[in-house]
Subunit: 265 residues, 2 copies
């Protein structure tokens, strides 16, 4: 049991890699952002002081005002919990994107949200992997047909071909999505691309969130549908890629373990 | 190709399930939160009006102040990008938690963040699955030893036993974590539990974020280490559970496809 099996070596290497990756990442983020943070903070605080002294706001009132503004952000962005907004929220829960642009405020809402995520996230994960795998099968089939059309001698479609197509497809989804969101939200293209990327990796910072302007959630049906379809289709394409690139690594240890057992028997 | 294979039926059922789940969820969230939203908004806006009229703040200045407050939130929570803060941020990127308590503000930071997530999320996913699988093997081994100790006749340890233990373990991590964070952050126990749950499901709304009070990120080394270990250990336990409960469903279509091919050959 205690001798270093391949599975243990692999796990240890992965832990070392991840920690190194985190330390290097932290150093780079520190280098990129720290200086700007201090400058930006000083600038914002001097703006704050200017306004406070112009109106002579007391400390107590200003703290009260700050808390008030922090809490009204989502309300200034429009009604969040009428059906379409609640649907958008539910989608960010089950996909684990979790922008946090609006979060349950009632105790009942918080408790329901936990139960909802508990069943919803696994369901959603299995659904996306299932559809992604179907998409891969469809791409394989389509590539074969194309090769037949062009009467190519070698009609075999390798996994590498399918990976190339899904990679192309996800780049296309990202860049087209970025174009559309930049049009609808008035973001610069890079910001919009960053929003799409952070959404489809399910990080979902919430620094940029679609449908949070001009009551879009309640008024602009076309844009609501586009945003939801973007998330659903985008995650399908990413899942198709993960199905080919990552899934085999997730089961590696388990498969090695099974082989060891068979060999031992 | 077009006849309804088992894989297609499964995928279709999953799509129908997910959409139903989203619609039902949206309806419940609407019912739970909509009324409170209107009340809370009216209350906050009347507070805002009271303060504005007390100081007679112009529309232009108030909008300026609002934008200023929104941007200073993370700075009031302490220095975010010095090494320990940058490490905490990097961890929320590679785990895809993405609280968004602090996000890259420079163009360089945003671009690096995307590349960082691109490699980091798969690495982290594979690492957690690998460690989670090792944890399951260890639990199986420990259960066997316990049965030996008690000289039980049947020394077989089934998967169900291991699932029960990891479920117990994850409940323990959640409830102990909730206790600690409620102590450190002064949250009510339910809020603290909600924070732990939303973190370990990697939703990461960011409505509650640890280490955002009293310069904790830079000053309270013990608490920083506890928070990071909580995320790492918590996600390992969840991964161990996912390894047993969900992973097999992710590969179901692919395995059926392989079987079909073998049968066809
Ligand atoms: K997330
Ligand atoms: K998030």
């Amino acid at each position: 049991m205690m001798k270093l099996k391949r599975q243990n070596v692999r796990t240890l290497s992965l832990i070392v890699c991840t920690f190194t990756y985190l330390l290097v990442g932290a150093a780079i983020f520190d280098a990129l952002e720290s200086e700007n943070e201090v400058k930006r903070r000083d600038h914002l605080l001097s703006e704050e002081n200017m306004l406070r002294s112009r109106y002579n706001i007391t400390d107590e009132d200003f703290n009260f005002l700050r808390r008030n503004v922090e809490r009204t952000v989502s309300y200034y962005a429009g009604i969040q919990w009428k059906f379409s907004g609640a649907f958008y929220f539910a989608l960010t829960v089950v996909t684990a994107i979790g922008y946090g642009h609006s979060t349950p405020q009632t105790t009942g809402g918080k408790i329901f949200c936990m139960f909802y995520a508990l069943a919803g996230i696994p369901l959603c994960l299995v659904m996306f992997q299932s559809v992604g795998e179907r998409l891969n099968i469809f791409i394989t089939y389509a590539l074969k047909q194309i090769r037949k059309c062009f009467k190519l001698h070698n009609q075999e479609v390798s996994e590498t071909h399918v990976i190339l197509v899904t990679t192309q497809l996800s780049s296309l989804v990202l860049s087209m999505g970025a174009l559309m969101f930049s049009y609808y939200e008035g973001w610069r293209y890079l910001e919009s691309f960053y929003y799409c990327f952070i959404t489809l990796t399910t990080i979902g910072f919430g620094d940029y969130v679609a449908l949070q302007k001009g009551e879009a959630l309640q008024q602009d049906v076309k844009y609501v549908i586009f945003s939801i379809v973007f998330i659903l289709f985008g995650l399908t394409v990413i899942s198709a890629e993960m199905n080919l690139l990552v899934l085999r690594f997730l089961t590696m240890n388990t498969e090695d373990e099974r082989r060891d057992e068979l060999e031992a028997a």
